[in-house]
C-alpha cells in the first residue's frame, strides 16, 4: 500500500530550479533511500514532504489524501543539520517538541521516560543542551524525531556524528520502528548503509529523478552481464576478443601474481560465451557474476547522466 506519493513535483527558487518534475512512491512499511549528490534537490523534496514549503506544481498524496498541515503530526523529521535550543534543558526541550507534534503533556512525559530509559540517557533530563557532546545531542534529537510514533519517518544523514557503536544502536532502533509498522525515508551519502537498510531507492541528480526502483531489482538489472574474474598473467588476448562488446572494464592487482577484472559486456555476449572465452584465454582463478555495489551504481549513474547532458 502506498503511504506517500509525490507526483510531477517542480519547485523553483528565485531563478534556480531545485526540483524538476520529480515523482516518487513510498510504500507502507518500507525503508526508502533518497540518494543524490549535494545540491541535487533532496532537501527541497524533503521539505515539501514535510509540508514546510509548497511545490510550484505537482501533488503530494499522504495516506490516501492530499498532504495537509495536520499530517505533520504523522511525520517525524531528523534534519541533516542538527539543532536544539542550547539554553534549554534536555527534558523540557523534548517535551516542547513532543507537544508541538500534538502529544499531551502526560503522554509525552511517559513516552520520553521510556525512550530515555531504553537509550540509557535518563540522567541527562535536567542537563542543558549546551552541556552535551555532539553525539549525545544527536541521540536526544533522534528521540524527539520518533517520539510521537509517526507513520512516516524522514532521516537526513542520521548516522553522521555517531561513533560506530552508537550508529549501530541507531540502526537497530530504525529497524525496530520499521518492524512496528513505520515507513522510513532515508537520505544519505553513505552507500553501505543504503545496502543494509533500504528496500527501495530514488537517485536524484540535478533536480531530476534519474533512477528509481527496489535495491534488489536495480542491482540485478544493472548487474546483468557483469562479471568479476580473477586470473594470473595478462588479459590482453581475452579483452581483444571481446572488442566492441565491452561496456565497462576495470583491472585491479590483487596480489603479486593475481589480478581482478570487473567487466560488463553487451547482452550480445551470453554467459556461456564468457565462461568459454575466459577458460580459453585466461589463466583463470575465479569467475563470478558481479552485482554492482550501491556506491558503483551511484557513481556510474550520475556520471552517465551528467555526460549525456553535455
Amino acid at each position: 500500500m502506498e503511504l506517500l506519493k509525490v507526483e510531477h513535483v517542480s519547485k523553483e527558487y528565485t531563478g534556480h530550479k531545485a526540483l524538476n518534475d520529480v515523482s516518487i512512491t513510498v510504500n507502507q512499511g518500507r525503508v526508502y533511500g533518497l540518494l543524490g549528490p549535494n545540491g541535487a534537490g533532496k532537501t527541497t523534496l524533503i521539505r515539501i514532504i514535510n509540508h514546510i514549503t509548497a511545490p510550484d506544481s505537482g501533488t503530494v498524496t499522504f495516506d490516501g489524501h492530499t498532504l495537509c498541515q495536520d499530517d505533520v503530526a504523522q511525520i517525524g523529521y531528523l534534519p541533516e543539520e542538527r539543532g536544539l535550543y542550547k539554553k534549554m534543558k534536555v527534558g523540557e526541550q523534548a517535551l516542547f517538541f513532543a507537544r508541538l507534534k500534538g502529544l499531551s503533556k502526560s503522554d509525552a512525559e511517559l513516552r520520553l521516560k521510556e525512550w530515555f530509559d531504553r537509550l540509557e540517557i535518563s540522567s541527562w533530563w535536567d542537563k542543558k543542551v549546551e552541556e552535551l557532546s555532539k553525539g549525545m545531542a544527536q541521540k536526544v534529537q533522534f528521540i524527539i524525531t520518533v517520539l510521537h510514533n509517526p507513520k512516516l519517518l524522514i532521516f537526513d544523514e542520521p548516522f553522521s556524528g555517531f561513533d560506530p557503536i552508537n550508529a549501530n544502536i541507531l540502526k537497530n532502533e530504525i529497524l525496530r520502528l520499521k518492524d512496528n509498522g513505520a515507513t522510513v525515508i532515508f537520505s544519505t551519502h553513505n552507500m553501505s548503509s543504503v545496502e543494509s537498510l533500504c528496500d527501495d531507492i530514488t537517485l536524484i541528480n540535478k533536480s531530476q529523478n534519474i533512477l528509481t526502483g527496489s535495491v534488489a531489482e536495480i542491482r540485478s538489472r544493472l548487474g546483468a552481464n557483469r562479471y568479476r574474474i580473477t586470473f594470473a598473467g595478462e588479459a590482453d588476448n581475452f579483452l581483444s576478443k571481446l572488442d566492441g562488446n565491452i561496456m565497462e572494464q576495470n583491472i585491479e592487482t590483487v596480489s603479486q601474481t593475481e589480478k581482478s577484472l570487473t567487466i560488463k559486456v553487451t547482452p550480445l555476449v551470453s554467459r556461456r560465451d564468457m565462461v568459454k572465452l575466459a577458460a580459453e584465454t585466461l589463466d583463470l582463478t575465479t569467475f563470478a557474476p558481479a552485482l554492482p555495489s550501491m556506491d558503483e551504481i551511484f557513481i556510474s549513474t550520475v556520471e552517465q547522466f551528467n555526460n549525456s547532458q553535455k
Partner: protein, 436 residues
C-alpha cells in the same frame, strides 16, 4: 493549531522572563531612575559651602550699614586703607564702595584672594542694587514709600487649566513644563522598548536559523506561526516589564510621595485638585507638578495609552525586525538592513522635542498619525491634553499598519529562513514578499 502558537509563545516568554538578566534589569532600572532624580537633592544636602569674610570699606557712608550677612558671606565694616585690608589674612576679600556710589554705581570694586564664586558676586550685586535703588527712591521724599513699595511688589503665578472637550468644564491640568517632561520621558521609554525588544526578535530568529533548530520547529508548525509565536512571546516579556514598572510607579505615587511631602503642600494639592487656588501658600509650580503626579485618573489614562502604543509599535517594528532576521545568517549582515527599522524610530525620537515644544502644530499632528513615528510622538502630545479622538485615530492607524506589516513580514520570513549563504539586499526582501 492555536495551542501550538501557545506552546511557542510560552517557550519564548519563560525562556526570557526566568533569565537573571531580565529580573535584574527590571528591578534595577527603576532604582537607577530614582537615584538619578534624587541626585540633585542629595548633592545639595552634602554640599557644604564655605563662609566668605569680606572687609567693607565704605566711602559713601550710607551703603555699608544696610548690607546684611548671608549664609555664605560675612561683611566686616572696617576703617583702614585698602592696601592693609587687602593684606589682612582675616579677610577673603575687600569690598570698596566709592564716595558717590549712589549716583555712580559703577564706582564699586571687589578684591578677592583667588577667584570669587559666581554666587558670591551675584549675591553682593543684588544686595547693592536693592540698597542703591532704595536710597535713590528715598531721595524723592515720597511719604510712606516703604509701604507703597511692599504693596506694589507682585509675585505672578499662573495656574493653567484645560477645558475638557466633552463636558465643557474646567479641569486642573499640569503645567506645560510637567507635560513636556512627561511626554519626553514616555517617548524615551517607547524608543528604548521598540529598539531593544525589536532587536531581541531579530537576534532570536537569527540564532534559531543559525543553529538549525528552526528546521525542526517548522516541521511541526507553519513558519508564520513560529514567527507570530516568537513576536507575541517577546511582546509579552516587554508588557511584563512595563507592568512591573507600572505597579512600582503607582505604589511610589500613591504611598511614597504623600508620605514624604509636608502637610501644607498636600493641602494645597488637595485644594488644586478641587479647583480652589485662592488660599495657596506654596510654590505654584511644585503644587501643580505634585498635583499632576498624584492625579491617578490622569496617570492611568497616560499609562493606558502608553501600553496601547507600545503594543502597536512593538508589533509593527518587531515584524520588520523578524523579516530582516529571517533573511540574514548573522548579526553583521543584518546591520545594513536594520537601518530600515532603526531610522524611523530614531527620527521619531529626535522629533520628540520639536513636537513637545509645539504639540498642536501641523507637523506634530501629522507625525503623531504616521504609524512609524506615532508611538513616540503621540505619547509626547497626550500629556498636554489633546482631544481624545486624535490618539484613538492614531491607535487605529497603527494597528491596521501592524497587521499589514505582519502579513508582509510573514511572506518574507517564510522564504528567508531557508536562504543561507548570500547576503540579501533590501531588493531581495521585496522580491520574496511578492513570491507566491
Amino acid at each position: 493549531m492555536s495551542s501550538k502558537i501557545g506552546l511557542i509563545i510560552s517557550r519564548e516568554y519563560f525562556e526570557r522572563v526566568y533569565k537573571k538578566s531580565f529580573i535584574i534589569t527590571t528591578l534595577l532600572v527603576p532604582i537607577i531612575m530614582l537615584a538619578l532624580m534624587a541626585l540633585p537633592t542629595i548633592l545639595m544636602i552634602f554640599h557644604e559651602s564655605d563662609t566668605y569674610n569680606y572687609a567693607v570699606i565704605d566711602r559713601s557712608g550710607i551703603v555699608a550699614a544696610s548690607l546684611q550677612d548671608t549664609e555664605t558671606i560675612q561683611f566686616s565694616r572696617v576703617n583702614m586703607p585698602i592696601d592693609s585690608a587687602k593684606a589682612d589674612t582675616r579677610f577673603d576679600g575687600v569690598l570698596v564702595i566709592g564716595e558717590n556710589a549712589i549716583k555712580n554705581p559703577s564706582n564699586i570694586a571687589l578684591y578677592n584672594h583667588g577667584a570669587s564664586s559666581l554666587d558670591t558676586e551675584g549675591s553682593i550685586r543684588s544686595q547693592l542694587k536693592n540698597i542703591i535703588e532704595n536710597e535713590r527712591l528715598k531721595a524723592y521724599n515720597i511719604d510712606n514709600i516703604q509701604q507703597i513699595l511692599s504693596e506694589v511688589n507682585a509675585n505672578v503665578q499662573i495656574a493653567t487649566y484645560r477645558i475638557a472637550e466633552d463636558t465643557g468644564e474646567e479641569e486642573a491640568s499640569s503645567s506645560s513644563e510637567t507635560s513636556f517632561i512627561t511626554g519626553l520621558a514616555m517617548a524615551f521609554i517607547l524608543y528604548m522598548f521598540l529598539i531593544i525588544y525589536g532587536q531581541m526578535v531579530m537576534t532570536s530568529i537569527i540564532e534559531e536559523k543559525n543553529n538549525r533548530v528552526l528546521e525542526i520547529v517548522v516541521s511541526s508548525v507553519r513558519p508564520e506561526q513560529l514567527m507570530m509565536g516568537k513576536i507575541l512571546g517577546i511582546g509579552l516579556v516587554a508588557l511584563t516589564q512595563i507592568a512591573i514598572w507600572g505597579i512600582l510607579l503607582f505604589t511610589a505615587l500613591g504611598y511614597v510621595i504623600p508620605a514624604l511631602l509636608p502637610a501644607d503642600v498636600l493641602a494645597d494639592v488637595a485644594a488644586m485638585n478641587a479647583g480652589q487656588t485662592a488660599s495657596m501658600t506654596n510654590d505654584m509650580e511644585m503644587v501643580q507638578a505634585v498635583s499632576a503626579l498624584t492625579d491617578f485618573g490622569h496617570i492611568a489614562t497616560i499609562f493606558t495609552y502608553m501600553v496601547l502604543f507600545l503594543i502597536g509599535g512593538f508589533l509593527l517594528y518587531s515584524s520588520i525586525y523578524a523579516a530582516i532576521g529571517s533573511a540574514v545568517d548573522n548579526i553583521q549582515d543584518a546591520s545594513q538592513l536594520q537601518s530600515v527599522a532603526l531610522m524611523p524610530i530614531i527620527i521619531g525620537f529626535v522629533c520628540a522635542t520639536v513636537v513637545g515644544a509645539e504639540p498642536n502644530s501641523t507637523l506634530a499632528v501629522v507625525l503623531s498619525m504616521i504609524p512609524f513615528t506615532s508611538p513616540m510622538l503621540m505619547m509626547v502630545r497626550i500629556p498636554y491634553g489633546i482631544p481624545t479622538w486624535e490618539p484613538i485615530i492614531s491607535v487605529i492607524i497603527l494597528y491596521i499598519s501592524f497587521i499589514a506589516m505582519v502579513w508582509i513580514a510573514a511572506k518574507i520570513y517564510r522564504v528567508g529562513i531557508f536562504m543561507y549563504g548570500k547576503k540579501p539586499t533590501f531588493k531581495d526582501l521585496i522580491r520574496w514578499a511578492r513570491y507566491k
